[in-house]
């Protein structure tokens, strides 16, 4: 049975919506702040229940507070997502048609890539092939900057991947539209954009999942086919000695 919404729940929800994406420990602090401000009973380990209450009220609106794990550091993040793709959600964005086309093409590159990254050069080369409106490289660079600011993409060393927020919001869409190409992590079964793969059987795993799974093992082996795990596994004894840049 769903509990009632209190002002604390509403305040929490407003804050999550305004943040776009909220990191786990921030969410915990926010939970405490809201309960204290609105004088609602607070239990520090009841964040999940607190969120469930809100979600039960969001469900009829096709919205949800969803938790996702960052592919970089394995930390939990929360975002409010739209589950329905009606015309209303389509009016939500702040981008023009050509900007969105660039984003979609960038997303294609990222998902189809080996390591979940698309280089800035490759993306900029797409800019003048856009069907909606050709973009100059300088303009495309600025658009990419905005996507990073708005947390749809994240950038590392001139390469772009999908931001945790983007993955949380669009996981279902990506899994259904990139069915044959999108990878799921063998350990946690969520969408994996950045992943390490087994050379023998081809399964993929998130880096944080790899770290956890192979922790302390000298000879990491694939959980599926048991072949020697050939990728660098940071954090394991073997990984430390072989630590170098990933190709």
């Amino acid at each position: 049975m769903a509990a009632q919404m209190t002002d604390a729940h509403r305040r929490f929800l407003q804050a999550l919506m305004s943040n776009g994406i909220t990191e786990g420990s921030e969410a915990k602090k926010l939970h405490q702040h809201c309960c204290e401000t609105d004088k609602v009973y607070y239990a520090h380990d009841k964040l999940d229940d607190f969120i469930s209450t809100i979600n039960s009220h969001l469900q009829p609106l096709f919205m949800q507070i969803r938790k996702g794990i960052s592919e970089d550091d394995g930390r939990a993040h929360y975002a409010v997502v739209n589950l329905a793709e009606t015309e209303v959600t389509k009016m939500a964005s702040d981008y023009t048609e050509s900007e969105l086309e660039l984003f979609r093409k960038t997303m294609d590159l990222i998902i189809l890539s080996e390591n979940g990254f698309a280089s800035s050069t490759d993306i900029l080369n797409l800019a003048d092939q856009l069907k909606t409106k050709k973009m100059k490289k300088k303009e495309a660079e600025q658009v990419l900057k905005v996507f990073v600011e708005d947390k749809w993409l994240s950038e590392k060393n001139g390469e772009y991947t999908l931001h945790t927020r983007c993955i949380i919001e669009m996981e279902q869409y990506i899994l259904s539209n990139y069915q044959d190409v999108a990878r799921k992590c063998n350990i946690c079964h969520s969408l994996a954009i950045q992943s390490q793969g087994c050379e023998s059987c081809g399964i993929g795993m998130h880096l944080p999942c790899v770290r956890k799974y192979f922790r302390g093992q000298t000879e990491p082996r694939c959980p599926e086919c048991n072949e020697f795990w050939s990728c660098d596994t940071p954090g394991t004894k073997q990984g430390v000695s072989r630590m170098g840049s990933q190709t």
């Binding site: 919404m5 002002d7 509403r10 305040r11 929800l13 407003q14 804050a15 919506m17 305004s18 702040h33 401000t37 609105d38 809100i54 009220h57 969001l58 009829p60 609106l61 096709f62 919205m63 739209n82 329905a84 793709e85 009606t86 015309e87 209303v88 959600t89 389509k90 009016m91 939500a92 964005s93 702040d94 981008y95 023009t96 048609e97 900007e99 969105l100 086309e101 984003f103 979609r104 997303m107 909606t132 303009e139 600025q142 658009v143 900057k145 905005v146 600011e149 708005d150 749809w152 983007c166 669009m170 869409y173 990506i174 539209n177």
Partner: protein
Amino acid sequence: MSQRKRSKGLGCSQLLDGEDDSIPTQVERRSQEQLNQKVSELVQFLLVKDQKKIPIKRADILKNIIREYRDAYSEIIRRADRTLQEVFGLQLVEIDAKRHIYVLINNLPCAEGEQLCRDKEKEKMGLLLVILSFIFMKGNSVKDSALWEFLHLLRVYPGKQHSVFGDVRKLVAEEFVRQKATPAAPRPVAPGVPHGVRATLDSPQNTPVHPKTCGEGSPPALCRYLETTAIPLTDPPEFKYQWGPRAEKETSKKDVLNFVAKMQGKDPKFWASQYSEANKATT
């Protein structure tokens, strides 16, 4: 024994019972499920518009959401407002009864140290609050020239690009007041959403000054916080600034006076006439 056929639904339909061409009542004609769907869509629509601080016109609601459910308009609006209050702590308020324009206001009492605005908005809201305070303290109306003289003291100049606010004259005279009718880029679509792009062009009056996304990000439309009217018989023509309908709804003279008092380290009662005005004003 006469049997009265009892129809489900509202009272009105019972009067029409037995007639061959009984017309169901407006709400009855739509199933609950269909209505709920419309209410959900409206709630999302309002949240999206509010996130960008764009006041919502009734015409847009009718065109984009209600559509053929026009007859159930007030019911849908009513339920959407109730949902917004219960789930989000927001309220749908009409700030312009003539032109039927709505905003969402926050029902939750503001907590200390809370950051509900995105970063770029925060600074603009700060400037706005300062301007609203100045106007109130000066008797609810100030001349254009007086406002800019005041802002000079804060090193904000109309002719000069400000490092945070950019074109301040535009911000104050246009953005805070009302939107300029400038055609925008076609209505965008959420990234990654399939089925191509569906552009919905708003009518010119409602179209925000759509920023070039390059560089600035998208500043929200903070309009209707200020109102400007021409002062008659002035040559060259002068303007005066007053609080706009949105400022009246979202803040109060009392809050503003407390803000000024806090900034100056004085008791609000120090300003006797403003104090009595602030306490008289009903929100």
